[in-house]
């Protein structure tokens, strides 16, 4: 069974600045600032290609990165959803 499909806010509404390997993100819709570690920024970038479920996201990420197993992507998506940086379609 396919899992939930996720959406990220479009580019331009989230501002990212890399700071020593971490990334500070300003999320304009909420006005909140987040500091995130890889692979969170990469997941957000991959989601900007369009809504995707975890399996599709993994496929996109593995084009550019060596990516771990499915559990990692689920855990990171849960965190990003809690932070309000991704939401379910």
């Amino acid at each position: 069974m396919a899992g939930p499909t996720y959406i990220a806010d479009p580019e331009g509404t989230v501002l990212g600045v890399e700071l020593d390997g971490l990334t500070a993100l300003f999320h304009a819709p909420s006005g909140m600032t987040h500091i995130v570690a890889p692979p969170a920024p990469q997941i957000l970038d991959a989601l900007r290609e369009g809504p995707a479920d975890a399996a599709e996201l993994l496929r996109r990420l593995r084009v550019h990165f060596e990516f771990g197993d499915d559990e990692v992507i689920h855990a990171r998506l849960d965190e990003l959803e809690t932070a309000g940086l991704v939401r379910r379609a």
């Binding site: 501002l15 600045v17 700071l19 020593d20 971490l22 500070a24 304009a28 600032t33 500091i35």
Partner: protein, 288 residues
């Protein structure tokens, strides 16, 4: 208001009104030599009022009012009215200033380059800034660093330095008596005595400086220096800012630009002389 005083501190014009004359006399003496607001325009108004109308004369206590207020701000005793005026000015800045990112930090300058010192209350940044201001640095401010968001420069905000407890004696040994306000005993923050910055700090209050180094000083430890990563600096400065959230995207851009462009160090120091030695060493390294 029965009594009024207007003065400029750095880029900000203040109007202070009071139901009593004495606090304004004390404030005028403390800020002797400060200019009037530019073109007579005041950015903020602070009002010192009796908690209830009849309390102006009977057991007076001072409530701080202004354009921006904290609903639960407790009134201060009349003996501490000068502190009330200072707190009122700080509050208006912290909540109302819009063109600068405000950091709860002390700043000093030498050769056009500024040092930002921030840390928890009691870390000694005020004392350190006050001492550096008498030892070849220009004091820009002991309470707020004003990072101008468009230009990225720091603007001075040389209000009176609020010395607490042990720091009072340290500065009394350093500076002539005429620059001190009255000693306020038993305030909610302990004993407080205000110190007027020196003539250079007042004369150059319109002159900004380029940020060069961020320091996180910590008093009471063996002397030590360590680098602090940009992400940690960013996080600590968002916490040290009074208006970061209110400024939104422009605050984020100004702060990330600052932490990406200048180094940051945490210093532990056992006494003020050691700290001043370390700061002078950093300054020489930056200038080299």
């Amino acid at each position: 208001m029965r009594h009024k005083l207007a003065l400029r501190i750095g880029p900000v014009g203040f109007r202070i009104g009071s139901a009593w004359r004495a606090p304004l006399d004390a404030l005028a003496a403390l800020y002797a030599g400060y200019p009037e607001p530019e073109d007579g325009i005041c950015d903020f108004t602070v009002r010192l009022e009796p908690e209830r109308p009849w309390r102006r004369l009977i057991r007076p206590s001072v409530a701080i009012r202004g354009d921006y207020i904290l609903p639960d701000a407790a009134p201060l005793s009349f003996a501490h009215a000068l502190l009330a005026a200072e707190m009122g000015m700080n509050l208006q800045m912290a909540l109302g200033h819009k063109s600068c990112l405000l950091l709860h930090a002390a700043t000093v300058e030498k050769n056009g380059r500024a040092l930002i010192m921030t840390g928890e209350s009691g870390a000694g940044k005020s004392t350190l800034a006050a001492l550096l201001g008498e030892r070849g640095w220009r004091l820009m401010g002991d309470e707020f660093a004003l990072l101008h968001m468009e230009s990225g420069t720091l603007l001075p905000f040389p209000r009176a330095i609020s010395l607490k407890n042990g720091a009072i004696r340290v500065m009394e040994a350093e500076v002539e008596a005429s620059r001190f306000g009255p000693r306020l005993i038993g305030t909610p923050k302990g004993d407080i005595r205000h110190l007027r910055p020196n003539e250079e700090a007042v004369a150059r209050m319109g002159e900004g400086a380029i940020p060069a180094l961020i320091l996180f000083p910590r008093f009471g430890e063996t002397a030590a220096v360590r680098g602090v990563g940009a992400a940690e600096v960013f996080m600590r400065l968002t916490q040290a800012s009074t208006n970061y959230v209110a400024l939104g995207r422009s605050g984020f851009e100004a702060l990330t630009r600052l932490v990406k462009t200048i180094p940051a160090l945490a210093i532990d120091y056992p006494d003020a002389e050691t700290a001043i030695g370390l700061v002078d060493d950093f300054q020489r390294e930056l200038a080299a």
